[in-house]
């Protein structure tokens, strides 16, 4: 506790010279000794501080060890493998430098996959955000069958991705249930080879993804709506605001942090998209639904090009990292700064 205060004091006097910083350090060191207190009292905080540190170490070490073993080490290994041409068998001795990266970035299928990933990010936000918001606002009202509707909306999200994928795969077969539904309402001329037409397949996949992940958006937004104080609504209504105005001017702005968090989750999910695509199309037809992750599997591991696959994995990691940082920097910063900076700015005002 005292150390924290010392550090805080140091940071407020950032402009001052090193000499002043060192005095403050000396101050800090002297302070505990200078505090006149009974022996019993003085010893208790000391052991409890060590105890706290031990407890932190005890609880954090297993998690850190697992993280290092299953995340950090494999990431570093992938970086190492990516510099070699290696088929996974025998010694890894064919060093090729950055050739794998050059090859990936020059491959139309890989750049196409990257483009598909970006398309999916944009479409998720353009389609799922308004839709999810509308449904959340609707389900936030008191209406008959609300709980049942909430459950129905959320069920696809709970369903295992592979199961949902297989079900949709069967429904979307030529002459399958979806085609039959179209025919039943007189729209048979709009039926397509949903998964077999390279021009349509990506949008079919996008539809299934929306069906699957809309529930998550709705649940998150509903949770966010619980944090919007009802007295604001009442006040606005007393001032004569309509329901629409209340939603637009009060609810949605206050839902901002939730929406931005959802956007982040959605973006990361879109970048790493694999299972649904793999089950529905395997990245085909004619690579029209290839994502970076399916490319990694089909061109890397399935062809025993482990070096090349690792390079693709590193690129996928880099793209995700850059996009995540940009998002953090430009969009999530507002939410973070709200929490971190307000107290200090208040201090300045005082």
């Amino acid at each position: 506790m005292t150390a924290r205060q010392g550090a805080g004091a140091g940071s407020t006097s950032t402009g001052s010279t090193t000499a002043s910083t060192s005095t403050s350090t000396a101050d800090r060191a002297a302070r505990p000794a200078a505090v006149p207190a009974g022996g019993r009292r003085r010893r208790a905080p000391l052991t409890s501080r060590w105890r706290t540190r031990l407890e932190i170490a005890f609880f954090v070490t297993p998690a850190l060890a697992l993280l290092a073993l299953f995340v950090v080490v494999p990431v570093l290994q992938a970086g190492h493998y990516s510099l070699y041409k290696w088929n996974g068998l025998g010694p890894m001795d064919n060093f090729v430098g950055l050739a794998n990266y050059v090859q990936a970035l020059g491959d139309d299928v890989f750049t196409g996959a990257l483009r598909h990933n970006l398309t999916i990010i944009v479409l998720s936000i353009v389609v799922q955000l308004p839709l999810g918001l509308a449904i959340a606002l609707l389900l936030n009202r008191n209406m008959w069958g609300r709980t049942a509707l909430r459950v129905i909306i959320f069920v696809p999200y709970v369903l295992a991705e592979v199961v949902a994928g297989v079900v949709w795969f069967m429904l979307l077969q030529p002459g399958g249930v979806v085609d039959a539904l179209f025919a039943a309402v007189g729209l048979e001329r709009y039926t397509q080879l949903w998964l077999g037409n390279p021009d349509v397949a990506l949008y079919t996949v996008m539809f299934v993804l929306t069906w699957k992940y809309l529930g998550l958006a709705v649940i998150l937004f509903l949770a966010g709506l619980q944090g919007v104080p009802p007295d604001l609504h009442e006040a606005a209504q007393i001032d004569g605001a309509s329901w629409w105005q209340v939603q637009r001017k009060i609810t949605v702005p206050l839902l901002g942090p939730t929406i931005r968090t959802w956007g982040f989750l959605s973006m990361i999910g879109s970048l790493q998209l694999f299972d649904m695509v793999w089950i529905l199309t395997k990245g085909g037809p004619a690579n029209s639904t290839m994502t970076m992750a399916t490319y990694l599997i089909s061109r890397g591991t399935e062809r025993s090009q482990y070096g090349y696959g690792s390079a693709v994995a590193v690129l996928l990691f880099a793209f995700s990292l850059v996009l995540a940082l940009l998002y953090q920097l430009f969009i999530l910063r507002r939410d973070n700064s709200d929490g971190a900076h307000t107290p200090s700015s208040e201090k300045v005002k005082r």
Partner: protein, 428 residues
């Protein structure tokens, strides 16, 4: 206070123990073979094959006291994945299935597979040309126990319904059959282009008809695709695709999984034929409720002759499975795979319809009449080309297959297929 510390210590030890267990657990399963224990991985994981192989192992153990054989019968794809991982760690089973071609070449180069040329000389002699796919630089590394062909499987009833009396022998016959089937409202051919390799088989076969066997044999070793016959093969395929003989949405159709797969469509009588390997009757049986597949209506004909092609029309495309021993396996391993290729074991293998036996002594034991026909065609073929993707290895084969699937989608030219394969080969 003391109690808590004790408890903490216990918990800490337990946690550490758990972690240690994670890291060391994997290693203990390894068995380097002490001369008397053999591990055997195979993919006959259903009756009667599974029981038959257990019996075979028991017989071998009885004849060779002190030898224990540990069998792992796995589902085919599982086995492939596990074998790949095993090869990477170098901790392979003693006896495993080897598909030959470029895959085997990689195993040989990495020193993972035993050279059995000398101890199994008698069996190699007996199997004759069938062993060719498992030989490299004059050395033999595995003994093929099942070798099949790719050809057209068709529904005799649907052919009769469309007024086709004879199985097609030339491409003109095939185009004629396609027209008749379409006129009768029957989808002519299903192809699992979603899984890529079934589509690639068409290109392989056109290459086999357009190129002489010498050109193909040379291409497998030199990986040089400059002969114009490879482009001609792509042009033949383009012509076939332009005739639109395939099932609706074939670009997304899987090969064998489920009733909407290419095999499923043939088994449920929604298409008249499919180009597939010797495994097709078994696959179709699994996809129909009565376990009969097409039953009596199952027919087979070889890939038709192509006008003006340099290839012998009786050359066939095929592939098979062979038994191999890992480099560190004890010598008794070779005795066991020799036993697996013996007359009696191969006869039982044929009687149980587990595949197409390679030992000539077992040819007469093939029970299924259609498979017996196929076996006759195989034994008459002057040259059996191993599937290109296996022969060229996963890298070149994969690039070739992807380009072929783009050709099916109308997004690649015959020249593109050759260029893609050549680029991948040059990059190796």
């Amino acid at each position: 206070m003391k109690k808590t510390t004790l408890r903490t210590a216990v918990a800490l030890t337990a946690a550490l123990g758990l972690l240690a267990g994670c890291s060391s657990g994997g290693g203990e399963a390894a068995d380097d073979g002490d001369g008397s224990t053999l591990t055997w991985w195979h993919n006959s994981n259903t009756a009667p094959g599974k029981d038959y192989y257990e019996q075979v192992a028991a017989d071998f153990e009885a004849a060779n006291p002190g030898v224990t054989i540990t069998i792992s019968a796995m589902q085919h794809e599982d086995m492939g994945t596990k074998l790949n991982a095993a090869f990477q760690t170098g901790d392979t089973p003693d006896i495993f299935m080897e598909r030959g071609g470029g895959e085997m070449a990689a195993h040989v180069e990495a020193g993972l597979i035993k050279d059995i040329s000398e101890p199994a000389a008698a069996e190699i002699e007996n199997l004759g040309g069938a062993v060719a796919g498992w030989q490299m630089d004059g050395q033999t590394y595995a003994l093929p126990f099942s070798l099949g062909l790719v050809g057209f499987w068709y529904n005799k009833a649907l052919f009769a319904e469309a007024g086709i009396t004879e199985a097609p022998e030339t491409m003109d016959d095939l185009y004629d059959a396609i027209d008749k089937l379409k006129a009768a409202g029957i989808a002519p051919i299903s192809v699992g282009a979603g899984d890529v390799w079934p589509a690639a088989h068409y290109w392989y076969y056109f290459s086999l008809r357009e190129c002489s066997s010498d050109v193909l044999k040379d291409a497998v070793t030199s990986k040089d695709f400059s002969d114009p016959c490879f482009v001609a093969a792509g042009e033949d395929l383009e012509e076939l695709i332009a005739a639109e003989p395939f099932n609706a949405g074939f670009l997304a159709t899987p090969a064998q999984a489920g009733p909407s797969s290419a095999s499923g469509l043939l088994a449920t009588e929604q298409v008249a034929m499919e180009l597939a390997g010797h495994w097709e009757p078994g696959v179709m049986q699994g996809l129909t409720e009565d376990q009969q597949g097409l039953g009596e209506d199952t027919g087979w004909f070889a890939f038709p002759e192509v006008d003006g092609g340099a290839g012998d029309p009786t050359d066939q495309l095929g592939g098979g499975d062979a038994w191999a021993c890992s480099e560190q396996a004890p010598d008794i391993c070779v005795d066991f795979i020799r036993y697996l290729l013996s007359d009696e074991v191969q006869q039982g293998f044929a009687e149980n319809s587990m595949g197409l036996p390679t030992n000539p002594a077992a040819s007469a034991s093939v029970a299924d009449p259609v498979l017996a026909d196929l076996l006759a065609v195989r034994d008459e073929a002057p040259f059996v080309q191993l599937y290109f993707d296996t022969a060229f290895g996963e890298n070149v084969g994969g690039a070739m297959n992807d380009a072929i699937s783009l050709l099916f989608a109308g997004q690649a030219t015959p020249q593109d297929v050759v260029d893609q394969a050549q680029t991948a080969a040059d990059g190796e």
